[in-house]
Symmetry: C2
Subunit: 267 residues, 2 copies
């Protein structure tokens, strides 16, 4: 049985999603929990990495349960949560097609970036929002997010890992970027067909720079128009970011015409 | 100058409000920050203690700034926040009457208790809400809070400290107890003229016991009617509780008739 997991985490105490020597990554801790239950090594595949300090409401991952194991998905959800720290929770578990792949099948992701726009950051927002005490022009911020929406070469908004294959294709489509505010609590929700490495934090950092008046909309536009020549270095802190959800064609089938699946992008 | 502080904290890493040997209490850390700024010892007086793990949005405290110090309240707010950990923030600072006392002058307090009513507690609610996975009857919960509202002898809802003076007067008035829900996120807001030691957690624990069907409204009523004989032992966990605000007559003067101040209660 291939099991599809929806995972939430508080990224604060971890070294990001992706397994690495020394552990303390979310993938390492999940694999250790599943291995304890199965008493054998397990590889868990996520929809994509998240950096140290980045949170998730709806990361998606999958792994294969051997036929010898008779636990159903609901039992897996409970058993994994017993073996995980409270900062990582399995929110949903479901049996899925043996062909399902959390990373290669993803057709879209939604991220939310939280800012706190007031002189003092409340303690309960520490590690959960970017504290921006400067005055922000919200109409400029909306113009900035509108400018970034659509299909563009986002090379100026990517940190490259030095992998020629994944660094080569830098065209992505942002379906929507919406601002919502509740007093000093401000959030930017970015939905797209995929995001380059650190792209959401670089987009948010640039948009906020415009909203503080330190850079212009023309500067932002130039980054989209000259992706090979220019680079944005304004990276919003990890702690404000959360991966809200990952979209798959199988979840959308009844909403789309038969031939209407958007192109795939891995991020 | 007597300085009045409005303080927010994440209670998770601390051993409660009240100073104690070994430190790591909020009062100890505040006094150390003020002492560093003034280069002399400082006593800070809070409106009342909060237990280890209990949070605050609006704790109130005061202390006296020597005449030799020329910092204004806004400079104090900034300087204290520089010397405090991010889990404790001064949200407001104001010069107040030399006769103002944060504890003796308090005429009311508002607490909010957060519960999460779903099978899995999201990581970002860890240490911030009581996870109650059981089915709750919200209309029974509202009946329970309605029953507890008003003036009663709350001795059955108090943990005693063994101090005969403060343990003797157990009559308090709860002005309002309101339930609000947003999906699985459930909060009870308790406002009253004062609360006994652990009273909000004991009231919440008892009300939730009724809402799960494990105890009746008649049981709850019997605790109010026989305060000397009966005792409620259902204590809701500290992590769900936050002290939202403290009320003072001086803040209300224009809302009240000249002779209309409610009786004082220290809690």
């Amino acid at each position: 049985m291939r099991l599809r997991l929806t995972i939430a985490y508080d990224g604060t105490p971890f070294r990001g999603w992706q397994s690495q020597p020394g552990g303390r990554t979310i993938q390492d801790i999940l694999e250790a929990a599943a291995a304890t239950i199965l008493t054998q090594p397990v590889s868990i595949h996520g929809s994509g990495r998240t950096d140290a300090g980045v949170h998730a409401d709806g990361q998606v991952a999958h792994f294969d349960v051997p036929d010898s194991c008779r636990m159903d998905p609901a039992a897996w959800l409970r058993a994994l949560n017993v073996h995980l720290p409270p900062e990582i929770r399995i929110m949903a578990a479901a049996a899925t097609s043996p062909a399902f792949h959390s990373r290669f099948d993803a057709i879209g992701k939604t991220y939310r970036y939280h800012l706190w726009n007031a002189p003092v950051l409340p303690p309960l927002m520490h590690n959960r929002a970017w504290h921006v005490p400067h005055t922000l022009d919200l109409s400029l911020l909306e113009s900035a997010t509108r400018l970034l929406t659509g299909t563009h070469d986002f090379a100026a908004f990517a940190a490259f890992r030095g992998d020629p294959r994944s660094d080569a294709d830098t065209i992505r489509t942002i379906h929507s970027a919406s601002l919502s505010t509740s007093g000093p609590d401000l959030s930017l929700t970015w939905s797209g067909n995929g995001f380059l490495y650190r792209m959401v934090r670089l987009l948010t950092g640039a948009a906020i720079r415009v909203a503080t008046g330190r850079a212009s909309l023309a500067w932002l536009e130039s980054l989209l128009l000259n992706p090979a020549a220019l680079k944005n270095h304004h990276l919003a802190p990890a702690a404000g970011l959360s991966l809200i959800s990952v979209a798959y064609p199988s979840d959308l089938e009844h909403h789309l015409p038969a031939s209407g699946l958007p192109g795939h992008h891995i991020s």
